[in-house]
């Protein structure tokens, strides 16, 4: 086991000690340790280089059906005990919550993922070497480069007074490159569970190729166009779908596109989406912050809404079983978070996707999308770092960034061709704190609605 890990025994022991002396019968502690080394570069040199090692403790105590919560960042048993005592005191001041589902009971959890020691051991020099490979390649092409190399090691532990005691380590490695000329830019990235899977030369090559094409930008007139979305652009749409409609709370409150439509055809038959933290090709922990095993959830099957993900509270409210999707309430909306999405792909190559377009647009990724109409999953955002005109199956010109405004359901109704799946995070989720990880394909869409454009 890597020396960078605190380890199962050292993580769970203080939880057991604190729970042994718990101030009330029903208590739960979730601990998330995060060691994140983020090296950022711009203008072909490293400008920020930070390591943060932190522990987040979430302690819950229940008194006569009332819940108190205290969070802190001390892993020592006495700090945990103080947190539980504080939570119990808060719970004593509030009335019982009729929706309280009780703490989780122990259940079988799938075998944890293997933890890659080499990723845990990666040091700043190794991160700098990967960045150096990109900056050198960009230099040779006459461009400047910017981006991020991130190594993240996490350890999650959950224990409660009903006997749950879980632990899982995880690792993530990420490398991105934005290559710029005076007139354009190109972007590429790699995301993996192992640092050894990052290919700096390939990331550089892909970003440089895009940048070389991005010159002489033209403006695309507003209107409906055929389109190819690469994986990062598809991941952006999937995040919007997740945030607007895949949690049980949003269904219960009538905000979700699924509300009142479960079992109905909500989009096209080529769209199938799961949440599956157990898929070995993606990143995820096998249990949630309440200690419930994560289950593979079919969200949309061949365009038919099948149902959302649940935490314990929404499961009780709606007469269901938790799917193991309770998430850190300090970062995500309550009621279930679908953060490990897998979208069914196909086998089309990038060239085949482009070749299938008579006249349309290729989008590499989006920036700052938002959701004007959550109920219909309408999103708007601008493209960036590689937007091109496709004519007769070939890229023929660079385009100024376009504004896309459309319902994700209408978009997926127009899937014509699917590429191979790739691990990807959308623009927002690439912020170093995670949000939604997608295993998704690039896609040829019959129609996207472009409503505006940035200046050329």
């Amino acid at each position: 086991m890597s020396g960078v890990l605190i380890g199962q025994d050292a993580m769970l022991q203080p939880l057991h000690e604190a729970l042994r002396d718990a101030p009330v019968d029903d208590c739960e502690i979730w601990v998330h340790r995060r060691r994140s080394a983020i090296t950022r570069y711009a203008r072909s040199q490293i400008h920020q280089n930070a390591l943060a090692d932190e522990v987040h403790v979430h302690a819950r105590a229940v008194v006569r059906g009332a819940l108190g919560v205290v969070t802190t960042n001390g892993l020592e048993a006495d700090a945990l005990h103080r947190a539980l005592a504080g939570a119990a005191e808060l719970a004593g001041h509030v009335p019982a919550n009729a929706d309280w589902p009780g703490l989780a009971d122990p259940e079988h959890i799938s075998a944890p993922r293997s933890f890659d020691d080499a990723t845990g051991r990666a040091d700043p020099a190794e991160q700098a070497r990967a960045i150096g490979a990109i900056t050198a390649a960009a230099d040779r092409a006459g461009f400047r480069s910017a981006g991020t190399h991130q190594i993240e090691v996490t350890e999650d532990a959950v224990a409660n007074t009903r006997g749950v005691a879980l632990y899982a380590p995880a690792a993530m490695a990420y490398l991105r490159a934005l290559v710029q000329s005076d007139v354009g830019s190109g972007y590429a990235e790699d995301l993996a569970a192992r640092v050894g899977a990052l290919d700096a030369a390939d990331v550089a090559e892909r970003a440089i190729a895009k940048c070389e094409l991005d010159r002489g930008r033209r403006a695309l007139p507003p209107g409906d166009h055929e389109a190819v979305f690469e994986e990062l652009a598809v991941a952006e749409i999937l995040r919007v779908v997740s945030l607007t409609g895949l949690g049980a709370q949003s269904v219960r409150e009538g905000r979700s596109f699924m509300a009142g439509r479960i079992g109905e055809q909500v989009t096209g038959p080529r769209f199938t989406l799961h949440d599956d933290a157990l898929d070995p090709r993606t990143l995820g922990v096998a249990f949630d912050v309440e200690g419930t095993p994560k289950r593979r959830v079919t969200l949309v099957e061949r365009g038919v809404a099948r149902g959302p993900v649940y935490d314990r509270t929404t499961a009780k409210q709606l007469g269901m079983r938790s799917t193991g999707h309770a998430a850190d309430p300090s970062r995500y909306a309550r009621g279930g978070h679908a953060g490990t999405l897998t979208m069914l792909g196909g086998d089309a190559t990038r060239e085949e996707l482009i070749a299938s377009v008579r006249r349309g647009v290729l989008i590499t990724r989006f920036h700052y999308t938002n959701i004007p109409d959550p109920r219909r999953a309408v999103m708007t955002g601008t493209s960036r770092d590689g937007t091109f005109l496709i004519e007769d199956g070939r890229i023929t010109a660079a385009l100024a960034n376009v504004r896309f405004t459309m319902s994700a359901l209408d978009l997926f109704a127009g899937i014509e061709l699917l590429g191979r799946q790739r691990l990807a995070r959308d623009w927002w989720s690439s912020n170093g704190m995670g949000s939604v990880v997608c295993l998704c394909p690039s896609v040829k869409f019959a129609r996207v609605t472009i409503t505006g454009s940035s200046p050329t």
């Binding site: 570069y41 991020t148 700052y368």
Partner: protein, 475 residues
């Protein structure tokens, strides 16, 4: 903590750092939320830790930990130096910090009533009264909440700065979602009502009164006719303009964006160094200022995280772009004589980056009623709903929570679905009047940086009028 910050800075210097600063931060938060009349959450949180930043051969390294034993803290210096050395291996231009005289002292938020000492029962009573005011015939989901924040910081630098601060913030939130068969759901909310102050801020804010207005808006929007897509005259209210100033002036005047520090994530700017004094940003009615000294502002402090005293910087002067938000590093890179004091880190675990302080639209001299009276046919837009901007902060799209018809100088009924897309200079160029009813707003979570840092910032604005703004309609 067993080791002192000064010892840590000394340790970094002995290991070869040309500059070092150590920052201890301790944060507390307490919040209560009521949903549909029942308590949804009662939570307290806190964290504390230490961050060490070093410059080695002109390049930065940073390490942070919450394990503050002597051994844990000593390992920080080694890690920060190791990271700086790796950075230095790629260095093409050395970091040059703008000069700053050593600072000593303490700053505390003036607080009349400690929000952490307010009895829980009093908070719950207030929120239940607020919730009751949100009840309407079609209200599906109602939420009301109060939060309190306390941040204690201690900064020691190798140049002799040693400053301590205690910042106290208080925030409220209200939201109501109205749902009715055959109508699009209507959401009315306010998530940006925060002040650097104690519980007196909550006492001065009439939460139940505001909740009743939000309830009435949500109910009215359900039955409102769809707006018409056309160019028209609009007046935007202060909460709407606070966000517009934030997104379209605050972010593009962050100087790290023009140095490409954020190009791969948060983006760049359309306001370049050579544009200062030349770029027409808006009409002559538009002036914008960054000011970390505004009483009650969420971007107010004694010193930033570089140890630079709070100051005031003009960003846009009567329509012309003139200045940036800066840190010591970015001021040095841009050749400015001094930092504008905008280096801020969310917590102990974060590297300080250029952030907004209190960035505001300066008040005008007209009365709101006069701006209104001069409109024969237009809209009053209140509070933003969705917003999206391109990576240069040039093309943007905003939609409104509330749109009221203005006819012959009078505010009439609601219309729904109002949105607009514009380019920043075009939008602000349409401004033909700013009122004198300036009001301060506070945001809790401006997002930027990798890892993401959520910063508290302040924005002041007054009602302002924009001519011939092309409107879109979201059906």
């Amino acid at each position: 903590m067993t080791a002192s910050l000064a010892d840590l800075v000394d340790a970094a210097r002995r290991r070869g750092a040309q500059y070092a600063d150590a920052r201890w931060v301790e944060r507390e938060q307490a919040s209560v939320t009521v949903k549909d009349g029942e308590i949804e959450g009662v939570e307290r949180s806190g964290d504390r830790g230490i961050g060490l930043r070093v410059l080695v051969r002109g390049a930065w390294g940073f390490a942070a930990t919450d394990r503050t034993s002597e051994a844990g803290v000593a390992a920080l210096a080694d890690e920060a130096i190791r990271r700086a050395a790796a950075s230095a291996g790629t260095r093409r231009m050395a970091v040059r910090l703008a000069p700053q005289a050593p600072q000593r002292g303490a700053y505390r938020t003036p607080v009349a009533r400690d929000p952490f000492a307010v009895p829980l029962a009093e908070q719950v009573d207030l929120l239940r009264a607020t919730d009751a005011a949100l009840r309407g015939p079609n209200a599906r989901t109602r939420r009301a909440g109060v939060s309190a924040f306390r941040t204690r910081k201690h900064l020691v630098t190798s140049e002799g700065t040693d400053v301590e601060q205690e910042l106290v913030d208080t925030a409220t939130s209200i939201s109501v979602l109205a749902v009715k068969a055959g109508a699009k759901p209507a959401q009315r909310s306010d998530m940006r009502n925060a002040r650097q102050a104690g519980w007196e801020f909550v006492e001065e804010d009439d939460l139940p009164g505001r909740a009743a207005l939000y309830r009435d808006d949500a109910e009215a929007i359900l039955d409102a006719p769809l707006a018409t897509a056309r160019p028209t005259t609009v007046i935007l209210d202060q909460p709407f303009l606070a966000l517009l100033v934030h997104e379209s002036c605050g972010h593009p005047t962050e100087s790290d964006r023009v140095l490409d520090h954020e190009v791969a994530f948060a983006g760049t700017s359309f306001m370049w160094p050579d544009d200062r004094g030349r770029l027409r940003y808006g009409s002559e009615h538009v002036s914008m200022t960054a000011d970390a000294t505004v009483p009650g502002g969420m971007g107010t402090f004694g010193w930033d995280d570089d140890g630079v005293p709070a100051t005031r910087t003009t960003l846009v002067d009567r329509g012309t772009f003139v200045g940036y938000l800066t840190s010591r590093e970015t001021a040095g890179a841009l050749g400015l004589p001094a930092s504008g004091g905008s280096a801020r880190a969310e917590g102990w675990q974060h590297f300080p980056i250029v952030r907004m302080v209190n960035v505001s639209l300066d008040p005008g001299t007209r009365r709101f009623d006069d701006l209104l009276r001069e409109i024969d046919d237009g809209l009053l837009l209140c509070s933003p709903a969705s917003y999206s901007l391109d990576e240069k902060r040039q093309n943007f799209h905003f939609s409104a929570q509330v749109a009221r018809v203005i006819r012959n100088g009078e505010v009439e009924g609601h219309v729904r679905g109002v949105a607009f897309q514009s380019l920043t200079p075009d939008f602000w160029g349409r401004c033909d009047g700013v009122a004198d009813d300036w009001a301060l707003h506070g945001f809790l979570s401006c997002a930027k940086g990798e890892p993401l840092q959520l910063m508290r910032v302040g924005h002041g604005a007054a009602h302002a009028r924009f001519r011939d703004l092309p409107l879109e309609v979201v059906p």
